[in-house]
Symmetry: C2
Subunit: 115 residues, 2 copies
DNA sequence: ATCATTCATCGTAATATTGCAATAAATAGA
DNA sequence: TCTATTTATTGCAATATTACGATGAATGAT
């Protein structure tokens, strides 16, 4: 059906999955890395840098904006995109917690050849 | 086109995105949480627990297996799925590094109303 | 051997994602 | 005003994802 049944899951699970999904494309990772490196950035730079068409980059930027990870402010004819530090920290913690709290105990209580 | 242009990006960017993509579905997050909590788990438990059909769960489990995050061993008629601790640690570091190295400096060098 | 249980796979429908050409909107400069 | 530049939006084609019913494979029990 192509439609995720979000109602079956908790808000936290859905939020985490939404963020992970946005991070689940190499172009968006490359955009974030470029933004962090430059600390000043406009969309057109990304087009020449990444090799994707301008509408495609714009679309990826919109998805990063939707989860609040980046912010754009108008600078003349171009737009300055930056990482939003507070949201960045929030997601950083979210992922750290996720990996921390789920760390497997691995006490091998399920069978001789298991785990 | 629906086809990611992976050739434009580095192996690291693609690997990170692949893992994030697998984590980008609430059902798979719920599965991982359940696996961690139980430390012993079979697929059928997940079906009743999550409310998705058995083939759907099986499909999600396969995706988690594909990135090495979980492992299944046969236990009679059922299968014992567990988190793979080494891979788990690897991805934990991967995400920690990602959020660490990209932490924004935010020196506001792009304009008065920017960032 | 037969049957029940458990999980995987196949096939399929509905929806989402990716990417781009064409176009629109907005601003700066001549 | 007209033009060039930059980014957003629209529309579309190709592919991917999500979900499930039907079926298959494997094991344990009767």
């Amino acid at each position: 059906m192509g439609l995720t049944k979000t109602n079956l899951f908790t808000d936290k699970q859905n939020e985490f999955a939404d963020v992970a999904k946005v991070l689940g494309h190499p172009a968006r990772i490359a955009i974030l890395q470029h933004l962090a490196k430059m600390n000043t950035c406009i969309c057109n730079h990304l087009v020449t840098e990444l090799g994707l068409a301008q509408p495609t980059i714009s679309q990826h930027l919109r998805e990063l904006k939707q989860i609040g990870l980046i912010k754009g402010s108008i600078e003349g004819t171009s737009i300055c995109y930056c990482i939003e530090p507070i949201v960045w920290e929030h997601y950083k913690k979210l992922f750290a917690e996720f990996f921390e709290t789920l760390t497997p105990i691995n006490n091998n209580n399920c069978g001789p050849d298991c785990c």
